[in-house]
């Protein structure tokens, strides 16, 4: 089945992974800016990274017929450095007209600190001023519940932000309901260990329905599996769910959400 991965970090993946994803039906992906595995030393390092995301990765994906989109920001981990963060935020507009940019992301919280919150608010302001969509990273493990609620507080306090243009990622059983009830999109991130599994994501689909809900693989530096969405497709099939339901989660919903960015063009997917 053709699908879209709305959150996958291809800079940490090999070209062979692009080929495998294409073989498994991936027709498009979106790659939010994130941590490099180490803290970067200067704004120039981020400028180079944004060139990688807007110039090199789309070419690498195109070799396998995959359309590559991206989101720009300084991630929550490095947002602890407020002065560097402000330099990066001031530089981001240079890249907002690149043809594969969908918006600002993944912004969010990591350890839910004051500095992270300060920089989160400044990113939200940037998105509002440039009419950009937003992709949100919610913290992991014991920080997720607190951090998700703090993020929702900050988003709803800015009247310029349209909730239907914000995707809150890494939702789990204790955060999904509030995200959906407040009118945001929600993304479930599938991990092989310690976090959400394909089976638990299927449970959340069965409980909360398919409106404004997507799934992604993250493909980050920790143990993660870039082919996690095909695993979810298999799990939903095994439980007897219809092709229409699966397609809505893995293809139509990402298209509907991304279509609110002027740069997104829906790929031609097999029905």
């Amino acid at each position: 089945m053709d699908y879209i991965d709305p959150h996958i970090h291809m800079v940490s993946r090999t070209t062979d992974d692009y080929e495998t994803l294409a073989r498994m039906g991936c027709v498009a992906m979106s790659e939010p800016a994130f941590w490099a595995g180490f803290d970067r030393g200067s704004v120039e390092s981020f400028r180079d990274y944004f060139r990688q995301l807007t110039e090199f990765e789309p070419k690498r994906a195109a070799q396998f017929g995959i359309k590559h989109y991206t989101w720009l920001c300084i991630n929550a981990k490095e947002a602890e450095n407020v002065s560097l963060s402000r330099e990066v935020i001031a530089m981001i507009p240079e890249f907002l007209d690149a043809s594969n940019v969908l918006g600002i992301g993944e912004i969010g919280l990591n350890k839910n600190t004051k500095n992270e919150s300060t920089i989160f608010l400044e990113h939200v302001d940037l998105a509002a001023r440039y009419n950009q969509q937003i992709l949100i990273h919610t913290p992991h493990l014991e920080d997720k519940y607190q951090g998700t609620k703090m993020i929702l507080d900050m988003l709803v306090s800015d009247a310029r932000i349209e909730r239907s243009r914000v995707l809150v990622d890494h939702v789990e059983e204790h955060t999904i309901q509030e995200v959906l009830d407040r009118g945001f999109w929600a993304g479930m991130t599938l991990y092989p260990i310690t976090k959400c599994t394909p089976a638990r994501a299927a449970d959340m689909i069965e409980r909360f329905g398919t409106e404004r809900l997507m799934a992604n693989s993250a493909g980050d530096w920790g143990p993660s599996k870039p082919t996690a969405i095909p695993d979810l497709i298999m799990e939903l099939k095994r439980r007897g769910h219809s092709r229409d339901l699966i397609r809505k989660i893995v293809y139509e919903n990402p298209c509907e959400f991304f279509s609110q960015s002027k740069n997104f063009k829906a790929p031609i997917a097999a029905p």
């Binding site: 004051k114 919150s117 014991e142 607190q146 703090m150 507080d153 329905g209 398919t210 339901l245």
Partner: protein, 90 residues
């Protein structure tokens, strides 16, 4: 939470028969982990985490629903609605 009308319902018997061996193996993993803990020397931090695991296992055995969400909340730092004021962020 209302059910999406497009969702097929698996019967309890079907869910149990399909999930039994997976659940069985997870219980064994947990049992072996507890055995491993018992054989090792403990530290204070480990004891605090052990308490959380024990409370989590109590949730599995009680008669209330929403077990995954309740285990998640048990393992979560609390949320303070006044956080923004405490941080001096307006």
């Amino acid at each position: 939470m209302s059910q999406d009308p497009k969702l097929p319902a698996r019967s309890a018997e079907k869910v149990l028969s399909e999930e039994f061996f997976i659940a069985r193996s997870k219980i064994l993993d947990l049992a072996a982990t507890l055995d491993r803990l018992e054989r090792a020397d403990g530290s204070l931090e480990a004891l605090h985490q052990l308490k959380l695991l024990e409370q989590g296992m109590e949730i599995l055995l009680d008669d209330q629903s929403d077990k995954a969400k309740r285990v998640q909340l048990l393992m979560s730092r609390p949320y303070d609605p006044d956080w923004r004021k405490n941080y001096g962020l307006h």
